[in-house]
Point group: C2
Chain length 348, copies 2
DNA sequence: CTGAAAGCGCTTACAG
DNA sequence: CTGAAAGCGCTTACAG
């Protein structure tokens, strides 16, 4: 910095414009009534002096901190990071800072966090969860600023929560596969995951809309590992029910299933199409990818943040389900580039 | 909130303690001289009233915003996210907020960002890069608060930058492989990446320390794709030079190389050990992983942030290289669990 | 050791 | 339409 020269203050502007402090303030904030000429004089003076209002003083005078509190369980979690980054970056664009309290660091109890946030006079609070549907405790009643829940559902039905539309994702996958002419659609997923259950339900609903039901009658339920994807895929082949598509509850399962199919001589997608969920492989693969669904977590964080600051007092209660995006890959596109070298098990 | 009851103020505390405002202030901040009894009275009064100083007033009075500015190129980048999250979460633990300006959103030029940060009176600035060694422009001279560069190197040698120790990582890999008895160590990497070049140099240095040199004389240089890993692996086999280990510049290359080796009947790690870099597969794999190096980006962000706020005026100029962590996996542990089902090409 | 007072820079009723 | 003044709640020289 070229010296710590004294910053230009609103008084300087008022003086140069030949008006009082209060007029200068109103002129710059766009409020108040005054002759256009007066306002213009002030604006010009501010420009001349390159006036930048001292945000600290503004905040203090108005009681608005321009800081949004973010309460997160585990900020380094793979799925949490994009949500929080979406929040942070979106708010930054609105010149709002974020104060992030990670419950996993620092052993302070939730009530301490709330107390800190209140003392800090944050203008709003975002609670970011881990994407499961296990309701998180509502803190809305403990503060008098807006609170929004992102990637989790608040215990209180009166709060506003944002979640990826898992049900819609499942339905979308059903429509995608049916649109490709598939009729015997199986489902591999994991138990013990309520948000995965939404995707399953959506799939079933989408099938029902077309007068279909799940192949093999019920989903193959295991864990989230690639190994389970392989096991389940073998089970599908063993059953010999002419399954022509599989929706896997996540990308790991899809990779596992795909390996088994290909190594068993089943053509993907000609014989069996595959769809995953998460769009995670994109992170580590550079080759064409298995068709998947992107939950758009970064965007979800941004949407929740924008809603928090834009909704005035009238927040709509309930869970808002934000649309996911189908990412078409080679595993459902017969004519698409098949990554023989990259994804295939049979190295050339 | 149970009504918008008036917040308790320092005056209330002073009054209850029977002292003046200034004494109350000093007592609570730990400074100033006074009888222990007086101080205790104030502390007790504060506790009784559950006094929480109004941070906005404190900030205004002291000219400290308790906000740190973060300037980032692309906040949704895979490698940038953990750095920024590490920054954000570490600062949050210190009750510092972050104001993140993402240069990729909003077309404001860098100078506008700096002007905004200055008007906001941030207490310090973190510039977060993309991990390449292409120096970023220094903004240190444009502000009068501390600036630290994380995951990038400032153009100015007088600035403090934090980068993963790629050279050390390469050397560490050399030592790891040599410790396992390997002597003919090849290297697959990508061109056009200056930070990858550090890893290569470190590997060569580590080999030299043991009187060895790179197998095949020079690195196999291509791009970052799994496909190139496969191609390079075939090249290694074709050359027939008894290579017994390969350090791949990233995890993609390692996966590709591993596939080729195994499908060609070369045992990993018995015949050829493999090490990658990035520790990315951890994100999507649940099975045992190929040995890799974790650049510890989340931790790097945290370290840079802590340094920013803890270093007073005396920041040490230059680039600080933070240690990476070797993550041992099955691809270098002969006795380790080999993921036959998960990573292998030969599905059982 | 303690207190009265000025000051941080802006906003906002309230008069004129 | 415009301005003088109080106030936001704390910190910090400066006196006593």
């Amino acid at each position: 910095m070229t010296g710590t020269r004294k910053a230009v203050t609103l008084s300087d502007v008022a003086q140069l414009a030949g008006v009082s402090l209060s007029i200068a303030s109103k002129a710059l904030r766009g409020g108040g009534r005054m002759t256009p000429a007066t306002r213009q004089r002030v604006v010009d003076a501010a420009a001349t002096l390159k006036f930048r209002p001292n945000t600290l003083a503004q905040s203090f005078a108005q009681g608005r901190s321009l800081v949004i509190g973010v309460v997160v369980e585990h900020s380094s979690d793979l799925f949490t990071m994009p949500v929080v980054m979406g929040v942070t970056s979106t708010l930054g664009n609105l010149d709002l800072a974020v104060l992030v309290y990670d419950a996993s660091e620092g052993p302070e109890r939730r009530t301490d966090v709330v107390a800190k946030l209140r003392a800090r006079m944050v203008d709003g609070i975002l609670v970011v969860g881990d994407g499961t549907k296990h309701p998180v405790p509502s803190i809305t009643g403990e503060v008098d600023v807006p609170v929004v829940y992102a990637f989790c559902e608040s215990e209180s039905a009166r709060d506003t929560s944002f979640m990826p539309d898992g049900f819609g994702a499942g339905r979308m996958v059903a429509e995608h596969l049916i649109g490709l002419g598939r009729r015997k659609i199986a489902h591999i997923t994991s138990g013990n995951d309520t948000s995965a259950a939404s995707r399953s339900a959506g799939l079933v609903a989408g099938l029902a809309d077309a007068g279909l039901s799940l192949a093999l009658t019920s989903p193959l339920v295991g864990d989230w590992s690639q190994a389970w994807g392989m096991t389940a895929a073998r089970e599908i082949l063993r059953r010999r029910e002419d399954v022509d598509a599989v929706f896997c509850g996540n990308d790991q399962l899809a990779v596992g299933a795909q390996r088994v199919f290909r190594s068993e001589g089943v053509r993907v997608p000609e014989d069996i199409a595959i769809v995953g969920y998460d769009n995670l492989n994109r992170l580590v693969e550079s080759a064409p990818l298995i068709t998947t669904v992107d939950p758009e977590l970064y965007r979800l964080g941004g949407t929740a943040a924008r809603y928090l600051v834009e909704s005035g007092a009238e927040r709509e209660p309930g869970v808002q389900h934000l649309p996911c995006t189908l990412i078409p890959g080679w595993s459902t596109q017969p004519d698409g580039a098949r990554p023989a070298a990259s994804f295939a098990d049979d190295a050339p």
